[in-house]
């Protein structure tokens, strides 16, 4: 379904390779978690997959249902079904959250040759989904992420994910900075989207998120590569002992 093959990528401005031969394969309906020390390249991996500027792909492929995402524009990748919940969602002053969502949903539908949703259809769906994430009308009306609390921003990411119905979701530290209740809401939001087909890659530092979103596999990333893969128990090991032992093991 989603495959990263020997991905090597560097910063465009500096001669510095961040991803150094990353491999990952996620089947349909699976949940994978990636853990790893700060600076190991987790966010970079998600940006390169999604097509953010500022990086050069030196080698490798990122496949979604067999199509190489690296050949596509960022919006084409999104329409193909890739979604990234950002570690730091950006603010867009003056653009209503609802406008943003509707523009995004319809842009993707259009690109896929589907009929666009009219205002009434859209409103009905968005209200329903916002409610379960405890996002109120006020938050839908406010400009995108402007003045949102940390928790609101992350819930908003999940709302966008729910509205866009992607095939492959990457969540970059969506749990960081959330209190227990907010984290539960986010986890419930993700679980509600699990349908046996949709796949997830959850980047996190904490076991507590994985208590709620049960991963099928856990990967440890260090220095631009996956250094170890295991089951949910691997996350517990990290929680208890940190990364040091794992890193030593490989070294």
């Amino acid at each position: 379904m989603f495959e990263i093959k020997n991905l090597k990528a560097s910063l465009a401005d500096e001669d510095k390779q961040i991803l150094k031969g990353m491999n990952l394969s996620i089947g349909a309906g699976e949940v994978h978690a990636i853990m790893g020390p700060n600076g190991s390249g987790k966010s970079t991996m998600s940006y390169v997959a999604a097509g953010k500027g500022g990086y050069v792909v030196d080698e490798g492929e990122v496949l979604l249902n067999g199509a190489n995402l690296l050949d596509m524009e960022p919006d084409e990748r999104a329409a193909a079904g890739l979604f990234l919940a950002f570690q730091y969602p950006v603010e867009i002053p003056g653009v209503g959250n609802m406008t943003f969502l509707r523009t995004a949903v319809n842009a993707q539908r259009k690109m896929r040759g589907e009929e666009e949703l009219n205002a009434a259809q859209f409103l009905k769906i968005v209200r329903e989904k916002a409610k379960s994430l405890k996002i109120d009308a006020d938050m839908l009306r406010r400009p995108v992420n402007v003045g949102f609390s940390g928790g609101e921003k992350k819930r908003n990411e999940i709302l966008q994910m729910a509205m866009l119905e992607p095939k492959m979701c990457i969540l970059d530290e969506t749990d960081s900075g959330l209190d227990v209740d907010a984290m539960k809401l986010v986890a419930e939001g993700v679980n509600a989207l699990r349908d046996g087909e949709r796949s997830f890659l959850v980047i996190t530092h904490y076991q507590r998120l994985l208590d709620h979103i049960k991963p099928d596999f856990v990967h440890i990333m260090a220095d631009g590569k996956i250094i170890k893969t295991g089951g949910p128990e691997l996350a517990l090991e990290v929680e208890n002992n940190g990364y040091a032992d794992l890193l030593n093991e490989v070294a």
Binding site: A78, I92, M98, T99, R102, T103, A104, A119, L123, L164
Partner: protein, 502 residues
């Protein structure tokens, strides 16, 4: 505001974004109409001034007024203080008068106008039929009417809904007709807000103006429909010099909109207009402009020089004026719609979006002159710069010693797209009354890569993303436009920024 309402308003943005994709070419009004024209000889001198006056069958006083302006102009020099650069204009290498031959005898009604001219307005999306629905304008309220005065090069082709307006006591006609049919009104008001000696371009205009629009709203009348003038430059090497005069008597109210376009040509063309608004006690004028003159190409070849003097005089107590401008066109813009707040408790507002892309230059802003007590003014300026363009906000807020308890609020925001363009803010402020206050805020920001990537990751194309971000930036001003034009303006914002990224 309920969510239902907010989506109706918000939906505008989504539709804007759709529009960007459907418009293939960058400037869709760039066509020329092939039509037989009558020209005055090239250049300007007293004979030309006389000729223009005689073409309009003007009374002697009007000619004298023009001639004295011309003599004054000959002694003046072009202002150089604006942050705009362009080659010296050869004022003797311009045609000052051009009218379609079919207009020599002004047709009795719009039905008799040359079909080629009617076709031109149809192509521009300007409704010249007297129908309630605004053809081609989405979101227009059902049953809402807009009267149009259509100015083509030097002459007005026709004015719609004149009869219906006359029934309400409103006079809406071309300036040349007003001089003939309502000389007492014209004589009383023309040049009383922008004197013929005001500045280089206004003085030139006073000498050679050929037509324009005239509006008179009598005491206590609320104009029953939106009024508008559509200016079209078509002829080559020709300048357009029009005057607009709007008078709102005690308690009168009117909303007026002007639009303008021109063909794509390699030569620069001059447009030097004068607009005067007279607002008496408790009267209210809302004046909106969607300026879309040809901006020139990516390399700065061609485009209109838009040198315009606009001023509103709030003569009576509680008089109100609101200028809204969406400036997307022209190679060079030099324009400062101003408010003289003479009456006590009078109010002036100025909302502006100025977009410059490629090699465009805009130096625009406003002047708020507080003379009366408790006068209020509000300025919201949004400058957007892309490509290699330069965008300057220049404004003056002046509170005179007698203007007790007056207030001004100014907000100037600049948005940069790319790193080769410039934004400048030049605010002059003078407060000579201790009980009055001036507040000024200014910001400069960039459309950053993070915002663009965020939008694109959600599925928007680069154009859609830029349009959304820029419309968000300019929202406050767009909302001050009449609803149906707000949508047009949003599309325009998006279109004029095409090719500004990537």
């Amino acid at each position: 505001m309920s969510t239902q309402e907010s989506i109706a308003k918000d939906g505008v943005d989504a539709e804007t974004v759709d529009a960007v994709k459907t418009v293939g070419e960058k400037y869709k009004y760039g066509f020329a109409t092939d039509i037989e024209m009558e020209y005055a000889p090239k250049g300007v001198n007293e004979d030309i001034v006389r000729l223009i006056s005689s073409k309009n069958d003007e009374p002697e006083w009007m000619l004298e007024w023009r001639l004295s302006a011309f003599r004054r102009w000959e002694k003046m020099t072009e202002p150089k203080w604006a942050m705009v650069n362009y080659p010296e204009i050869d004022f003797q290498d311009i045609y000052y008068y051009a009218r379609p031959k079919s207009m020599i005898e002004k047709p009795k009604s719009l039905d008799d106008v040359d079909p080629k001219l009617l076709e031109t307005y149809k192509k521009l999306g300007i409704p010249l039929a007297e129908q309630a629905l605004l053809a081609g304008v989405e979101g227009a309220e059902e049953g809402r009417k807009v009267a149009v005065d259509a100015v083509f090069d030097s002459v007005s082709v026709g004015t719609t809904f004149q009869k219906e307006l006359a029934e309400a006591g409103v006079i809406f006609c071309s300036m040349s007709e007003a001089i003939k049919d309502h000389p007492e009104l014209v004589k009383k008001y023309i040049g009383t807000v922008v004197p013929p000696t005001d500045n280089y371009y206004a003085t030139l205009n006073s000498a050679v103006f050929s037509d324009g629009s005239f509006v008179y709203i009598p005491e206590g009348v609320k104009c029953p429909m939106e009024l508008s003038t559509y200016f079209r430059i078509n002829a080559e090497n020709t300048g357009q010099f029009e005057r607009t005069l709007i008078i709102a008597e005690k308690g009168a109210k009117v909303s007026y909109l002007e639009g303008c376009t021109a063909p794509m040509r390699d030569e620069n063309q001059l447009h030097a207009a004068v607009v005067e608004l007279i607002i008496q006690e408790d009267a209210d004028i809302k004046y909106s402009t969607v300026q879309n003159w040809y901006p020139g190409d990516e390399n700065g070849v061609g485009g209109i020089y838009n040198f315009v003097t606009k001023r509103a005089d709030c003569r009576g107590d509680r008089a109100k004026v609101m200028w809204t401008q969406v400036e997307t066109g022209s190679a060079v813009t030099w324009k400062y719609p101003s408010c003289i707040l003479r009456g006590d408790d009078s109010q002036g507002e100025f909302y502006s979006i100025a977009i410059t892309n490629n090699m465009q230059q805009a130096d625009t802003g406003t002047k708020m002159i507080h003379l009366g007590k408790r006068t209020k003014s509000r300025i919201v300026s949004k400058g957007i710069s892309a490509g290699k363009a330069q965008n300057t906000y220049r404004g003056l807020v002046s509170i005179h010693p007698k203007a007790t308890g007056s207030r001004n609020y100014t907000q100037c925001d600049s948005l940069l797209i790319g790193d080769q363009c410039g934004a400048h803010t030049v605010p002059y402020m003078e407060c000579r009354n201790n009980s009055s206050r001036i507040e000024h805020e200014a910001t400069t920001s960039k459309v950053d890569e993070e915002q663009l990537f965020y939008c694109r990751q959600r599925g928007m194309t680069e154009e859609e993303a830029v349009a959304l971000i820029v419309n968000g930036f300019a929202k406050e001003v767009l909302q001050s436009l009449p609803m149906e034009f707000a949508m047009e303006a949003q599309k325009l914002v998006a279109i004029s920024l095409e090719g500004s990224v990537g």
